[in-house]
């Protein structure tokens, strides 16, 4: 079971970062964003394209060669591009929908269409094969009692630092406070002079940057695929729901817990030989939480029926 704890923490940190992003967006805009997974994949795909060795033909119909930029710079550009992409989505698609007062169920269906659309554009123009970042293989080492490669350990630490930064940002900065104000009540916030359009745009950008970062983490730990985001989207929903929808702190803890549940459940006696079904455990937890404690671990009571 200890063996799986390290894997659980790694999966947990991916889900955790992505859940915070999803939860922020839902809190401020009330959009259940099914296209979240595609922004996650975008981060990984952009980073792969920027950092891949120049002589390899891996992406984009094998027509363009990768740029061969150093990995760290590629990752930063990847995250920034995800932010730009999220901002464009808000400006070109979701803001007009909001102004036209399109209902939130219609918007939910739009995000599903968007998700299918973008994901298969990746399949067509980016990568249909499983790819890996151009990083050296590393040997596992023991940290405390958990075994993982030094690189994955760095990812874990980086993820935790990002969490702390988000927490501080939301609590202490002016814009973070404004985001929480819009989340709690859009009308009251605009009465107090907060421009909710700007806050929503900022939320889209920051949420997408976080999603892109989660995608880069996921690609470092596992690999790059066109549907990598969709594969963990339901786990991200599970993390968000477990922690309490709309609470950022809850999403962090919820995401981490879901990751650990999924990986540790492999070691449970009744799961022997059924490792494929491990995601079912997390999804079942999510359904149970929605039924019996819909506000999650940390959320406040809200009418959801």
């Amino acid at each position: 079971m200890i063996d799986q704890l390290g894997n659980g923490l790694l999966l947990g940190i991916i889900i955790s970062v992505a859940s915070v992003a999803l939860s922020l967006l839902y809190g401020v805009t009330r959009i259940v964003n099914f296209a979240h997974g595609e922004i996650i994949a975008l981060g990984a795909i952009v980073t792969l394209f920027l950092s891949g060795p120049v002589d390899s033909k891996i992406l984009f119909l094998e027509r363009f060669s990768p740029l061969g930029i150093s990995f760290a710079v590629s990752a930063i550009i990847g995250v920034i591009l995800c932010g730009v992409f999220g901002g464009l989505l808000e400006l070109l698609l979701f803001r007009p929908l909001r102004k036209a007062e399109v209902g939130n169920i219609a918007v939910l269906v739009v995000t599903i269409g968007l998700s299918i659309f973008i994901r298969h554009l990746y399949l067509l123009f980016a990568t249909g094969r499983v790819q890996n970042f151009p990083l050296d293989l590393e040997r596992r080492q023991t940290y405390l009692f958990i075994e993982m490669t030094p690189r994955n350990f760095k990812v874990l630490i980086a993820g935790l630092i990002v969490m702390i930064i988000i927490g501080l940002f939301l609590t202490f900065t002016r814009i973070g406070k404004a985001m929480r104000a819009v989340r709690d009540s859009g009308e009251l916030a605009s009465v107090s002079g907060i421009n909710s359009d700007n806050i929503i745009l900022f939320t889209w950008i920051s949420s997408s940057m976080l999603a892109g970062l989660a995608g880069i983490f996921q690609a470092i730990i596992n690999d790059v695929r066109y549907n990598m985001g969709f594969l963990i989207l339901l786990l991200i929903f599970a993390g968000t729901v477990l922690g309490g929808i709309g609470t950022s702190f809850g999403a962090m803890v919820g995401g981490l817990l879901i990751g650990i549940f999924v990986q540790v459940s492999v070691a449970l006696p009744f799961m022997e030989g059924h490792t494929e079904a491990k995601n079912a455990v997390a999804l079942a937890i999510m359904i149970l939480i929605l039924l019996f404690r819909p506000q999650g671990i940390f959320g406040q009571k809200e009418r959801i029926s």
Partner: protein, 351 residues
């Protein structure tokens, strides 16, 4: 049925899409047409089931694939088949119609099982729960190899249906070099659509149907009038799930083998696209939506060959799904009522 402009346009577009099949294919247009009409029948049936959920009752169901899956798996496991890695053969089985009946009932009961807890949730939460439940179903089916054949699926079950194939079909089919077993499945699915629509027409015009629509419009008002809104929603869930189960059975017989990969969330999204295209809340809308949708799908390879020289299977599938995603987005933004739906009857906002 009043022949309004909406109907006229819908019928014209449908005829035009069928014409497109002949115009774009020099070789064997009839074979292509009957292939896509079979799929259109099966998916149309599933979309009618989904329309009972979303169109009539306002339930945001994104787990439709699992209802189709339950119907298919239960039915096939009850008739002679071969399953699993070794292809373990089960020779004995129930009579075909009884097996289908049990399969449909099983799908309904799965609807009840999923509905009982989930129906209390608000729209967007219901969407997440149903899609998650459908994934749990798929993962369990894949995992329980000893019963369901797991990733190896179920094969050799088609005879139970094909032995009832009438002779006149063979004569008709042999003239055009068509696949007789597929035509038989297609024919049955369209006959089922006819029956289901007749039943639904009666049901929706009954007091029960009016109560159902009232639940969609204002649940509290229904409660105040002494109706049991939760039970009404559950009945709707079971009815739609049963119809989906029947569609699942036809889908399995059309493929000739049953794989867990058939029941991925994308299947649900296909059915959603068809329902939205045909018209949410319109009983016969999904039929037209389904035909038009499948013409688009089956002609995408022409489009794909414009973009890619020698497109491979993966690229073809990619182009199709790009179109499906685009279709869902554009319809939902610009014409959420689809071809035949009524805008005022749409549930687009969580109450």
């Amino acid at each position: 049925m009043k022949l309004s402009i909406k109907w006229l346009v819908t019928i014209l577009i449908t005829i035009f899409s069928i014409y497109l099949v002949f115009a774009l294919n020099d070789e064997g247009p009839l074979r292509i047409l009957f292939n896509l009409l079979t799929f259109a029948g099966i998916y149309g049936l599933a979309a009618i089931g989904l329309n009972v959920h979303f169109g009539l009752t306002g339930l945001l169901n994104f787990g439709h694939a699992s209802f189709m899956g339950v119907g298919a798996y239960v039915t096939l496991l009850l008739i002679p088949h071969a399953a699993g890695r070794e292809g373990e053969i089960t020779e004995s089985g129930l009579p075909f119609l009884l097996a289908v009946f049990i399969g449909v009932i099983a799908a309904s009961l799965f609807g009840l099982l999923l509905g009982l807890p989930a129906i209390r949730l608000r729209g967007d939460y219901l969407a997440i729960v149903t899609i998650a439940a459908a994934e749990i179903f798929r993962l369990l089916v894949r995992d329980l190899e000893s019963i369901t054949g797991g990733v190896y699926g179920i094969i050799n079950f088609s005879d139970s249906l094909q032995k009832y194939r009438p002779i006149f079909l063979e004569n008709f089919v042999s003239n055009y070099e068509l696949n007789p077993s597929q035509i038989w499945v297609g024919l049955l699915s369209w006959i089922s659509i006819l029956f289901v629509l007749l039943i639904l027409r009666r049901l929706t015009n009954s007091p029960w149907g009016r109560a159902l629509r009232a639940v969609r419009e204002d649940e509290d008002a229904v409660r105040a009038l002494g109706k049991n809104a939760v039970w009404l929603k559950l009945q709707s869930f079971m009815l739609g799930a049963g119809i989906a189960g029947l569609a699942g059975v036809f889908l399995a017989f059309n493929y000739g083998s049953l794989q867990t990969t058939t029941f991925v969330p994308l299947l649900t999204f296909y059915v959603w696209a068809i329902m939205i295209l045909g018209g949410v809340g319109s009983l016969s809308g999904p039929i037209f939506g389904s035909i038009i949708f499948w013409v688009i799908i089956s002609e995408t390879d022409k489009l794909a060959s414009l973009i890619f020289e020698n497109a491979n299977g993966q690229q073809l599938a990619g182009v199709r799904f790009v179109l499906v995603g685009l279709l869902i987005m554009i319809l939902m933004i610009f014409r959420p009522s689809g071809l035949l739906g009524k805008k005022e009857e749409l549930l687009l906002n969580v109450k």
